[in-house]
């Protein structure tokens, strides 16, 4: 189930800024609290830069200017990546501060939606592209401490042969003295490049495993053609020991840092459809298994900027070949949800010349990309609007998972054309979907197209795998080869069974069930009941018929006849059902526990006597509000969600 929202608030309907390079932080302790950053200036040109704030799971958004910056800045702040600690609600951000160039600030706020300017924890120069990750220690003696890891490129490292890839680390970032230290993670020569790449991306697992991936630059020519390795480092205890990030060594040289790819090449400040290029990295770890880690990186292959996804299942020791290879793609954002589903969001260019489009995709997989679902979140013209600065859409975007839901953000052309957003879209700013025009606050003045940030969330709907005895399979039900039918499944006359459908011994065939030539391996057991109109085709003739198989007058007379033994006639079963509109559901199909998006509310609903989806759908908000002691808005939102799920069921 997708939710895509243009997050520019209604009050700023007239804005035309280039709100690029977005990043997102979802509070793991309360997924309704979401912060998004982008190159968005303070609407009044104030001294603080704003963040976008939602406290209702991404439905509505406001701007809250709390990031220290410089009055009148065109982009609010420089590079910025926010994160929440996993408990305690503390909110962190690593930024490039204005005024100044390459000036790092590490910031903290106790409450991201309060108006107070964030507290500065670190303020120093010569740093590029800070990328923040945070997690609260879940147990043990340090339980409750916020660990914050900020990957960055630190030019303050003395040369020559500078090893600049760094993780700025605090083991207790919530303390008055956060005590950040700079941990250098490059161990190899950077050659004549004399530095690493700007992208240094950490990721944290709650068991204390911390990975970081970076481009270890090895050479750079005067045109900034870069030759680089893609290097991953690991620490098994929160980077708290004497030799942090040295748990992985590469067998080629025994130096710390496993080489995922070597000698990759790209041009720094190259271009792709109005966007600049210079390397892209993303990393994620399975929240259920810190040994499984995915990395995405980009390089140039045969002149095409190409995105690669690889995986390790042994804590980064060995790596797969490409699981995904996508041409003309950048801004990878990987995440793994609580169910182990892997999400890959990215942006790519399709078409040529004036028909080029920037597409934003979300691919999900449960089998390491052997098969995946690809959803286009946005497809927009690549030649408009003209860039006001670079990056056009961003040097990165971000996605993370909380529970089963993926939350992400991307920036792109904001033309309000529903065709540009195949999963649907909501605009908070004034717009007209019919004329595809943005409108100013007055609702009539046309506003020119610009780059806006779009929030998205995706909650996988749990697949229906169990057919119960009263499941009614209609002619349009698609039964795949892996569908398992239970012994009481009733197959109706139009059910089509494919070659690998497994029928169990008590599957009942009705009079019109058609067994096709592909059901040739079906085993008829002693209780299989073939009625008078069951068509047994030429290819079912080798099927062993048991003593209880009933052959009717229409059965081809080439089989051995056994006197029919009529099984006892069962009285017709009374099946409970729920009718909703023109659709009939079994009660258990609508059991609330089947719907993951409702899982937070299931216990409270059941305690109030509400056990099925239809009850929520038809509830009055005020009644639900009173029953659950929810706010009216929350009750209405719950009903809306249930209605959306019901629509999915009916379709």
């Amino acid at each position: 189930m997708f939710n895509v929202v243009n997050i520019i608030p209604n009050a700023l309907s007239g804005e035309t800024s280039q709100d690029s390079e977005p990043n997102i932080a979802v509070n793991p302790a309360n997924a309704n609290e979401i912060a998004i950053s982008a190159f968005t200036p303070d609407p009044m040109g104030g001294a603080n830069a704003p963040i976008f704030v939602s406290i209702d799971g991404g439905t509505s958004w406001v701007l809250n200017s709390i990031v220290p910056s410089q009055a009148g800045s065109a982009s609010g702040t420089g590079d910025i990546t926010p994160r929440f600690g996993s408990s305690g609600n503390r909110f962190y951000a690593g930024i490039l501060r204005r005024p100044g160039n390459l000036r790092l600030n590490v910031l903290r706020a106790a409450n991201f939606s309060a108006p107070n300017t964030m507290t500065i924890l670190v303020d120093r120069n010569q740093v590029d592209q800070p990328f923040t990750q945070a997690m609260t220690v879940p147990s043990g003696p340090d339980a409750g401490d916020d660990r914050v890891y900020i990957g960055l490129n630190d030019f303050a490292v003395a040369g020559p042969n500078r090893r600049t890839a760094t993780v700025e680390t605090s083991l207790d970032a919530g303390a008055a003295n956060a005590g950040f230290t700079s941990i250098r993670i490059e161990t190899r020569s950077t050659g004549n490049a004399n530095q690493d790449g700007p992208q240094v991306r950490p990721v944290i697992h709650p068991d204390g495993t911390v990975y970081a991936v970076f481009y270890g630059w090895r050479a750079a020519d005067p045109s900034l053609n870069i030759t680089s390795d893609v290097v991953i480092v690991r620490d098994d205890n929160w980077a708290s020991g004497n030799s942090p990030f040295t748990a992985l060594a590469d067998p080629s040289d025994n130096a710390a840092g496993r080489l995922i790819a070597t000698g990759v090449q790209f041009r720094f400040n190259g271009t792709l459809a109005q966007e600049r290029l210079g390397g892209d990295l993303s990393i994620t770890v399975n929240p259920n298994n810190s040994s499984e880690v995915y990395v995405a990186f980009c390089d140039v292959q045969s002149g095409v900027y190409t995105l690669h996804v690889r995986r390790s299942t042994d804590r980064g020791v060995t790596w797969s070949a490409d699981l995904r290879t996508i041409g003309s793609a950048k801004n990878p954002a990987l995440a793994i949800n609580a169910g182990g589903m892997v999400g890959l969001a990215y942006q790519c260019v399709t078409g040529t010349g004036n028909t080029q489009r920037w597409e934003t995709h979300l691919e999900t997989t449960t089998n390491a990309f052997t098969a995946s679902n690809d959803s286009v979140l946005a497809t927009v013209p690549a030649n408009a609007p003209a860039p006001l600065f670079l990056p056009y859409m961003g040097d990165y975007m971000h996605m993370m998972a909380v529970g089963s839901t993926f939350y992400g953000v991307f920036s792109t052309n904001n033309t309000p054309d529903p065709a540009n957003f195949p999963q649907g879209v909501t605009f908070l700013r004034n717009h007209d979907f019919t004329t595809r025009r943005l409108l100013a606050l007055d609702g009539t003045t046309e506003v020119r197209v610009s780059i806006d940030p779009f929030f998205f969330s995706f909650t996988p709907v749990r697949p229906i795998t169990r057919f119960t005895r009263i499941t009614e399979l209609t002619r349009l039900t698609r039964i795949t080869r892996l569908t398992q039918l239970t012994r009481l499944t009733e197959l109706t006359r139009l059910t089509r069974l494919t070659e690998l459908t497994r029928l169990t011994q008590l599957t009942r065939f009705t009079e019109f069930t058609r067994l096709t030539q592909l059901t040739r391996f079906t085993e008829f057991t002693r209780l299989t009941e073939l009625t008078r109109l069951t068509r047994i085709t030429g290819l079912t003739r080798f099927t062993p018929l048991t003593s209880l198989t009933r052959l009717t007058r229409l059965t081809p007379p080439l089989t051995r006849f056994e006197p029919p033994v009529r099984p006892p006639v069962e009285p017709p079963q009374v099946r409970p059902f729920i009718r909703f509109g023109n659709t009939i559901f079994a009660p258990e199909d609508l059991a609330l526990s089947r719907f993951e998006p409702l899982e937070d509310a299931v216990a409270e609903l059941e305690a109030a006597g509400i056990t099925t989806l239809d009850q929520v759908v038809t509830a009055e908000p005020q009644v639900l509000s009173a029953l659950l002691q929810y706010s009216h808005e929350d009750a209405a939102r719950l009903i809306e969600l249930a209605q959306s799920l019901m629509r999915t069921m009916r379709h």
């Binding site: 009044m44 040109g45 160039n101 530095q195």
Partner: protein, 289 residues
């Protein structure tokens, strides 16, 4: 007339649409009129501090037009009657209700009109602003405010000119590469260029030199990167007024070092360091005062 009525209706509609929240019962109005001189700060000072200045009528206390605003007695719903100074983006808020958070110690009465000096706070369905000061909307006070606001741009230019080491008018005759060899490779590289300006004049009052130089050389950031988005860019033939250097020696030295500039070179990265030729007469007049 009909147009006026339609406008009024539209304005009323906009006001009606704005959702209201209230905290308990609206507090009783103070008997004394303590509103105006809330902060005791001069109007000029307030204008310096505020980004959004408007005349507005207090509709309600202890209430807000946005759910996200924490309510206190000093939270007001105010109808904007006239925007005196603010970003173009918010011009459509004239006639609408917004939320104003008063500073500590300030008072405002329901139904009365004030001049509010404010900064942005929360932007959502509506907007909330934090008030740094307010004054009564009486004739003389309003005149002071309007006059101060009218003079503010000129005052800023004068201040910049006074801080400058040199103010010149002229034309760019040459632009050349000025990359620093030891600069790190970063997407935020300024792409320094060196511009040579043939000097036409040196506005007398702003001059800190005895003689007009024949030419000046400065560095500017040609990078399209976001960090340098507002930094002025130059090509040969560009003409106008330059305000070069800063009397703050430390700041000037830091900027020169960052740009790899020599002692006799300036660095132009602030939008207020340069005004194009079409404003030359105006700027020259202002800085010569």
């Amino acid at each position: 007339m009909a147009q006026k009525r339609a406008k009024k209706r539209a304005s009323k509609r906009a006001v009606k649409k704005t959702p209201r929240r209230r905290v308990g019962k609206a507090p009783r109005q103070p008997a004394k009129k303590r509103a105006a001189r809330a902060t005791g700060t001069s109007v000029e000072k307030l204008i310096e501090q505020a980004q959004f200045v408007f005349r507005g009528t207090v509709r309600q206390r202890g209430a807000a037009t946005l759910d996200q605003v924490p309510l206190t007695r000093d939270t007001l719903i105010v109808t904007i009657d006239e925007i005196l100074d603010g970003p173009e983006l918010l011009a459509s808020f004239a006639g609408r209700e917004i939320t104003v958070q008063l500073p500590k110690g300030a008072r405002a009465e329901t139904g009365k009109r004030y001049v509010f000096y404010t900064n942005g706070w929360i932007f959502g369905q509506s907007i909330a602003v934090q008030c740094v000061g307010l004054s009564e909307d009486t004739g003389p006070q309003l005149q002071v405010a309007q006059s101060a606001l009218g003079n503010a741009p000129a005052r800023r230019i004068q201040e910049r000119a006074q801080r400058a080491e040199l103010v010149v008018t002229g034309r760019v005759t040459e632009v050349r590469e000025a990359r620093q060899s030891d600069a790190p490779i970063t997407e935020h590289d300024p792409h320094w260029r060196q511009a040579v300006v043939a000097v036409d004049s040196m506005p007398a009052a702003a001059s800190r030199r005895a003689r007009k130089p024949r030419q000046v050389v400065f560095r500017f950031a040609a990078s399209p990167d976001v960090h340098w988005a507002k930094a002025p860019k130059f090509t040969v033939g560009d003409a106008g007024v330059w305000m070069l250097g800063d009397k703050d020696k430390r700041q000037t030295a830091e900027l020169r070092a960052a740009a790899g500039a020599r002692q006799d070179e300036y660095v132009v990265v602030d939008p207020e360091d340069f005004f194009p030729a079409e404003f030359e007469e105006q700027i020259t007049a202002i800085v010569s005062q």
